[in-house]
Amino acid sequence: MTESRLHLTRRRLLQGAASVALTAPMINRAWAQEATQINMLGWFGHAEPDIVAEFEAENNVKFVPKYYAGGDNMMALISQSPPGTYDLILSDAEFVQQLNAAGYIEEMDASLYPFDDFYPEYMNFPGHWTDKTLWSVMVRYGLLGVSYNTDALTREEAMSYNAFWNPKVTGKVGHFDWHLPSLGQVSLLNGNKAPSPFDIDEAAWTAVKDKMMSLKPQVGGYFDYGGTFAGLKNGEMLAMVGIGDWITGVLEKDGAKVASVIPEEGGIQWTESYSIGVGTTKHEIINKFINYMLSPKGQVKSIQMAAYPGLSPTKSGWKAIQEANPAEAKRSGLIEGDDNDPIKMLREGRLFFRDVPKQQSLEDWNDFWSDYKSA
């Protein structure tokens, strides 16, 4: 007698059960909802795990970043992509209106964001609004001043941009290879404060160029992000023009003998903000993320970002970092009334927002920068 093929023996039952058990994770995986992908255009670090992992896990989303280095680079990337490529755009504030003019970003609903938690100076940040229309929401900022090797220069010596001309650092002055911060700092040294170091007439522009050229014998090189880190860390460069705590803050944590100060002539503020890309359909989750980043928890992450530290524009952000990491709050001046309190410096007129040139074209500044490098 032959055994029926349908006859269920105990062995076959066990084999079947084992097969089902082994394939179950795959079935579950297939049934699970696919994570929503958020395409972000931003500076390096903004979509790294220390910033977004928690939000990703809580909201079943996945950030897909495209990183750039500099506002021009950002504009180039976005102009080469079809609408809808980027859901979320992290931009330097001075480029927001260029994004707007080119039609790359959407109008935002101001009522969705916690502006009442912002310091008053940042509620209506220049360039983020046209009349009462909001185009971008500030999320963090930082200060550019004199960055130096503490073995080479004293803090007192570094308290003026003239430190870059100090014979102690001849041949060891590096430039972050972007014209705006370096030229802005020399403009400040020349006394161009009102209305802004970037809003200067032709005579002042000529004087800035002459002053910049006089720095040439001091210069040891021009560096990108990685080169700036390496140059300061290995002591090849003893002072760096055009940067600030966003570089030295990371190196300090690593034990390097470097620091940044805001000199007497004043500092330049870089500002980063979120805009919504034209063509996206993910408004709800994007707005949720922007609010998350502006929340005390998000601001603590932002202030301590592994890639480069930033400062908080919100009062609750300051309070949160004071509780979460008092040492970092002290180091970065996020304590009301502290010597390094950025709001105090802003109110004293010692900080100036980085901007594009107002009376010359960006091209003029960049061409001069190329001439300066090859001089």
Partner: protein, 280 residues
């Protein structure tokens, strides 16, 4: 009598022609055309104006970059050829077949690692706090600035090209008919005369090709002048990056690229004529 058309050789060369057409000739034509375009609000607009050419060629910074790039490429070709020649002579005439194969393998091994990684390694070695300066300090010498200088850039160039130049020279020297060398010796020529009158002329093709490859690779290298030379002074490749970074000026960068390609064509043509030309 008419010859029968034989498609076989044409079929064999077709893939190469298609490849070169699709990935070299067409992009080259596109790039040349783009050099006449304009950029408005960070967007490229097809046009036919000479603004980019007049602007770039009229700038001192462009010519400064051009001459320094050309000079460094020539220098790298000469230095690499000079350093490579004794090693290639040894490998071609003194090493056994197996030894030569092993030496060639050793020359290829560096290419297993990205050139950028090798440049970063040189940053550590050449730094003022690096091992080279530690040795110099140990014998009482002051630290020498090697990084972010022309010297640093040249170290990078030679790292890139030297193994290739040695390989070219070795192949070419190893292929020389030994009877010629023996005959010259039997006729009373000194070793120096044999080298100058027999070996070098016989190996001319490989020697010139090695030098010209060194020139081409150095001329177009970005990593060495940027990461080891500190962009000081900028070369044409750095100028291209600066130009594209600022305001999306790809058309102006295309002008630089077209000039670079024209220069490379001119140099390579002259070199090939020298390499394969009639021997005097």
């Amino acid at each position: 009598m008419t010859r029968r058309f034989d498609p076989y050789p044409h079929v064999l060369r077709l893939p190469l022609i298609l490849w070169q057409g699709a990935f070299f000739v067409i992009p080259l034509i596109f790039m040349a055309a783009m050099s006449f375009w304009l950029v408005k609000n960070y967007k490229l607009e097809p046009n036919f104006v000479f603004d980019n050419w007049t602007r770039m060629l009229g700038r001192g910074a462009f010519w400064d970059a051009y001459w320094i790039t050309l000079w460094r490429a020539v220098l790298a070709g000469i230095i690499a050829s000079a350093i490579a020649f004794p090693a290639a002579l040894f490998m071609a005439f003194r090493l056994s077949e197996g030894g030569r194969r092993f030496a060639l393998l050793c020359l290829i091994v560096p290419f297993f690692t990205s050139f950028l990684v090798r440049a970063y390694a040189w940053q550590v070695i050449l730094a003022e706090s690096g091992p080279v300066n530690a040795v110099l300090g140990g014998v009482g010498l002051v630290p020498y600035t090697m990084l972010n200088s022309g010297f640093g850039a040249m170290v990078g160039y030679l790292t890139l090209v030297l193994p290739l130049v040695v390989i070219f020279q070795t192949w070419s020297l190893a292929a020389i008919d030994r009877n010629l060398i023996e005959a010259a010796g039997n006729l009373g020529a000194t070793p120096l005369r044999v080298l100058g009158s027999v070996i070098i002329p016989a190996a001319k093709t490989g020697l010139v090709l090695g030098a010209v490859f060194a020139f081409i690779m150095t001329f177009g290298d970005f990593v060495s002048p940027f990461y080891l030379g500190g962009s000081k002074p900028p070369t044409l490749t750095i100028l291209i990056i600066d130009t594209t970074k600022s305001g999306q000026q790809w058309p102006r960068a295309a002008v630089v690229a077209v000039v670079m390609i024209a220069t490379l064509f001119a140099v390579a043509s002259a070199a090939l004529r020298a390499a394969y030309g009639r021997r005097g």
